[in-house]
Symmetry: C2
Subunit: 234 residues, 2 copies
């Protein structure tokens, strides 16, 4: 994803993004200058500049000829994210009551959603999380795990390398690079792998039967590690 495309994720059209970048790199400019800098038709340049102002990405410096200046990138992104937070709060307050969560077997599809689900499980854990996965996947989860440890969550990890995560219990074992096993609070489990990127699937469940199976499997895996290495606990 290039810069223009990243900016489109912040609700700018391609032309608006192009113009934003020009304002950012070249400094404050008139509509006429912007059109020349970017090669966009003048009429569309003026339309886009007005839109950038509406969307909080640019300000006007009023004069005989108006000049436009980019809102600082970090400020613009932060403002967008703050807006999303506010919309989230609004949504939560007006959304009708939810039906009870299903207790069946849920397919989580796509690497991004699987990582999201893992983060959510860690963030929402009250007591403990057990993970068995490779360093590669674990790296995505370190901030959430660190935060969890700060909250007093018990964190137990089986992974394939030495890991510096104070407060966590780490076991070392060879791991399939993309395999995932995660259990949180004895209430929910996630298992599968992310070898197929967007086509990857994992199973998520709150089913007690599956949770028990998992706890046993993880417990046994830990016992075997300890027996084989005389306790390779770090």
């Amino acid at each position: 994803m290039d810069v223009v495309e990243l900016l489109t994720q912040f609700n700018l059209t391609r032309q608006e993004a192009t113009i934003y970048i020009a304002l950012h790199t070249e400094g404050d400019s008139t509509g006429y200058e912007v059109a020349k800098l970017t090669g966009i038709s003048r009429s569309n340049a003026y339309t886009s500049l007005a839109s950038l102002v509406d969307k909080g990405a640019a300000y006007v410096m009023e004069g005989s000829a108006n000049r436009y200046t980019a809102v600082a990138l970090e400020e613009f992104c932060t403002n967008n994210i703050r807006r999303m937070q506010e919309l989230k709060q609004k949504l939560i307050s007006v959304m009708p009551q939810a039906r009870a969560q299903p207790t069946g077997y849920i397919t989580v599809k796509g690497e991004n959603h699987i990582l999201d689900k893992m983060q959510t499980m860690i963030v929402e854990a009250d007591e403990r999380v057990y993970l068995s996965l490779s360093k590669k996947i674990l790296e995505h989860l370190l901030p959430a795990l660190r935060d969890g440890l700060l909250r007093g969550i018990k964190v137990v990890i089986i992974t394939d390398i030495a890991l510096d995560l104070p407060g966590a219990t780490i076991y070392r074992a060879d791991k399939e690079a993309n395999q995932i096993r995660l259990i949180a609070d004895s209430t929910d489990v996630l298992t599968g792998d992310i070898s197929d990127g967007a086509e990857s699937t994992c199973l998520y469940s709150r089913s007690k039967n599956l949770i028990d199976l998992f706890k046993d499997a993880l417990r046994n895996e830990i016992t075997l590690i300890e027996l084989r290495k005389g306790g390779n606990k770090l």
Copy 2:
């Protein structure tokens, strides 16, 4: 903004939003049930369900007949916001170098952008902020001010009601309801009002001359408050 419209801000189409709400309130359903619940044509229901799964708003529960279940609302919003945070970091790392900030006079237009600018000024202050505004506007800024106080920022506020903000210096004076005066770190100022909603404008500047003018005006306002009330400092 109703629920459907709020959900469109999280990248769902109107039909997807309608279906998400149905899944949320009625619980897990097949495509056929969803079409009946929502009155959306069956073929569009299936298309939208597939899209909801792609967008992380729903999961599949696979079986002879697939059932779909809504991702919890808070989880879905949080995942979206996390994604925006990640995109922000990516953008910051690939964006070309910015030209220097302008030192002229910038028009900030629209209530939302004005509030954004105030929040940014407070968040980015290193030493102190002075504010003269009504309680109505101040309420929007309290979290940022509290955080600033925690960071050791000096906060001085002239406002129209008693205010419980430990660590801040509060002066009481009648204030025009929508008038804004804010100065941060002796480096930037914002003044204007938000009486016209989306059409409101404020002036933002880093011009030393205007900053000096402001400091004098605020200082004098404080002196007059103290003389008139024998120091109505709270």
